[in-house]
Amino acid sequence: MSENVEYGGYYARWHRPRVSRLWWLRRRSYLVFVLRELSCVFVAWFVVFLLLLVHAVSSGEREYQRFLDLSANPWMLALNVVALCFVLFHTITWFALTPQAIVVRLRGRRVPGRAILVLSYLAWAAVSAVMAWVILG
């Protein structure tokens, strides 16, 4: 008898199919989901990278120069490009899901999902603009 066969309360026995380890390749939406979950690793990497930068800045010019050299290293550049792609993917897919989770009512009417999506992007652009002003200004 197959080991997948179990005895149940109401039936002589049943077959319980096992979830394949490659279940996430079965559908595009599953793959997108797994990539979105994976993207959190790269979000965390950007946080670490930022902390390293802050540490380098606070440790004097020599440390800062060393950090800049490290950042200009081809493998570090490649890592950061991949990380940026994943972070953008994370942000865009996350925003796409926002209207489903946030229900806002104005004067008794539900604000359309598209408006929430547009507001999310506007907020992102505003925060990015402030960051750019702080860094470049």
């Binding site: 008898m1 197959s2 997948n4 066969v5 179990e6 149940g8 309360g9 109401y10 039936y11 002589a12 026995r13 049943w14 077959h15 319980r16 199919p17 979830v19 279940w23 996430w24 079965r26 559908r27 939406s29 599953y30 989901f33 979950e37 899901l97 489903q100 989770a101 946030i102 229900v103 008794g108």
Partner: protein, 248 residues
């Protein structure tokens, strides 16, 4: 259009099969035939031993859910011509034990559903009304979408989290809880909180794959219901933290 199509149907006879197998049936391809009509043709004219569930044939009873070419579908509303020239693969719903052929065991859902108390709960001591509870159209609109669920289990079949984590309440049970939480006549949201926000199997098990909403034949949007409840659960936790003396 070809006048015949092959249906590749999963067979599992627990008395003598170790594992499910596939059996091919060539049936007439008719323009107005749903996949369920094809199965009925097999059952009536070709092989009376084939087992599957069905009842209303009009997308209301939620009995005839199966995987059609790998996608969870109500077979009464899925037309064979959309899969021409075939073959079309018919399998039992995923993530459930198979009892026989295309029949799955949904006892797990039936056990979990009452834990979220999907019925109207009124505040203590309030006498039953002499007439119906009144509700405005706007209040009805708040939960109506979630009340359309027919328990067809397609969302459970599409949800990889349910397949991987058997403790997960699952999309339909949570959507049905929200159906009552958002009902203006209901006062029972605090009674549903423990089951819905449980660390094991509650809404936090959901990682928002979103596939449940895509496959729902009644446009219930269980994924939306779960994410909305996450927001509610966070608000409740913050309230409980800031005002521990307050009523839950």
């Amino acid at each position: 259009m070809a006048d015949r199509i092959v249906m590749q149907v999963t067979r599992y006879r627990p008395d003598h099969d170790k594992a499910p197998t596939t059996q091919d049936y060539e049936i007439p391809l008719r323009k107005d035939w749903a996949v369920l009509d094809g199965l009925n043709h097999i059952k009536d004219h070709m092989d009376g031993t084939l087992s599957y569930r069905w009842s209303c044939r009009m997308g209301i009873c939620g009995s005839c859910g199966m995987n059609v070419n790998g996608e969870p579908k109500l077979t009464c509303g899925t037309f064979l011509t959309d899969y021409a020239p075939g073959p079309v693969r018919i399998e039992p719903l995923s993530n459930f034990p198979v009892v026989r052929d295309l029949v799955v065991e949904i006892g797990d859902f039936m056990d979990k559903l009452p834990t979220v108390k999907p019925w109207l709960i009124r505040a203590d001591g309030e006498p039953p009304p002499d007439a119906e509870y009144l509700q405005t159209p706007a209040e009805l609109e708040d939960y109506k979408q979630y009340s359309m669920c027919i328990n067809c289990m397609l969302c459970y079949s599409a949800c990889p989290i349910y397949g991987l984590d058997p403790d997960f309440l699952g999309p339909a049970a949570i959507a049905l809880a929200q159906r009552y939480n958002l009902d203006s006549r209901d006062h029972g949201d605090h009674e549903r909180l423990d089951a819905l926000a449980a660390a094991e199997g509650g809404v936090w098990s959901c990682t928002y794959v979103g596939e449940c909403t895509k496959v729902c034949p009644k446009h219930v949007d269980p994924a939306g219901a779960i994410q909305r409840y996450k927001v509610t659960a966070v608000n409740q936790s913050i309230k409980a933290l800031l005002m521990p003396w307050g009523k839950r």
